[in-house]
């Protein structure tokens, strides 16, 4: 564990380590400097291994060990893409933030379905569609991906394209206003707030 405490090993959760005082300058919200490849692989393995466990559904030692090997191998093979993981803001309460985000997201998904159902069933077909632009403060690709996904699955909005810090969105009912301020406030702001707790 000792070597992890050098400054600049950004993505590894420093709060897992022994000393927190030494690492105040590299902790949680800082921009990670050159993260080490093996740390990314470790992190990716931590994401992939549970998938394997869910898939086999047993705790048979043979399955567990084969799964671990495969998870590490998969992580290693996807090494060129693993830099997206650097976008995660490590924080002791990260699990809580993720849970809150998932809750908000599922609630929005439910509302979105009722919303679409109501529109589809209504004889007048009450829609007022337009393509609007929304501004985002999330800088990382992973953050923008999650935000775009979230927007697509929420009431009346569909991500069409992503530019540097703009998302182009098809809005089924653009009554609140088609300019960027109104669109950002009513489409993206809420999710962005919850996402920005754990993603850059």
């Amino acid at each position: 564990m000792g070597r992890m405490h050098q400054p600049g090993l950004g993505i590894f959760p420093v709060w897992l380590g022994k000393s927190r005082i030494m690492n105040t300058n590299t902790s949680s919200v800082n921009v990670p400097q050159a993260a080490y490849g093996w740390q990314r692989i470790l992190l990716a393995t931590a994401f992939i291994y549970p998938v394997w466990l869910l898939m086999v559904g047993t705790f048979d030692p043979a399955e567990l060990s084969i799964g671990l090997i495969i998870a590490v191998l998969t992580a290693w093979l996807s090494k060129p893409h693993l830099h997206i993981l650097d976008a995660i803001k490590w924080h002791p309460a990260i699990a809580l933030y993720v849970l809150v985000y998932v809750g908000v997201f599922l609630w929005a998904l439910l509302r979105s379905n009722l919303d679409v159902a109501a529109r589809v069933l209504s004889p007048r077909l009450p829609i007022n569609p337009a393509i609007v632009e929304v501004e985002t403060h999330l800088r990382s690709d992973l953050g923008k991906l999650l935000l775009a996904n979230c927007i697509t699955l929420t009431p009346g909005t569909l991500t069409v394209d992503v530019f540097a810090d703009r998302l182009q969105i098809h809005w089924i009912d653009s009554t609140p206003g088609r300019d960027m301020t109104h669109a950002t406030a009513s489409i993206a702001a809420q999710f962005e707030y919850y996402l920005s707790k754990f993603i850059k």
């Binding site: 869910l54 439910l110 379905n113 529109r119 589809v120 393509i131 909005t157 569909l158 069409v160 394209d161």
Partner: protein, 101 residues
């Protein structure tokens, strides 16, 4: 338990049906994608949840399927919408799109 599972599956299939209805009723490609994505996502999730109530031992695989649907379905829709936009298809009744107030 059976009744809960059955109602969840029924709810899911109703959402799927509404999604299909949306494909018919909506006026252009973007609105159709919207109706399609949302309804099918929650519809599938609800069906999966219903199955999980019927067969509690299947939950790990069902959870995995749900995660994959949640991650891939919006991406697929966005990609379709993006392709439509890039080919120059303008949304229905929207002569004043592109960030006009």
């Amino acid at each position: 338990m059976q009744i809960i599972g059955a109602s969840l599956i029924l709810l899911g299939t109703s959402f799927l049906f509404l999604g299909a209805l949306g494909l018919f009723r909506m006026p252009d490609v973007y609105n159709r994608i919207q109706a399609g994505t949302k309804a099918t996502t929650l519809g599938s999730l609800s069906v999966l949840l219903g199955i999980a109530v019927y067969y509690p031992l299947w939950w790990p695989k069902l959870l995995l399927i749900a995660l994959f649907i949640l991650l891939t379905s919006p991406i697929a829709s966005s990609t379709l919408a993006r392709a439509a936009y890039k080919t120059g298809l303008r949304p229905y009744r929207a002569a004043l799109d592109k960030g006009e107030g």
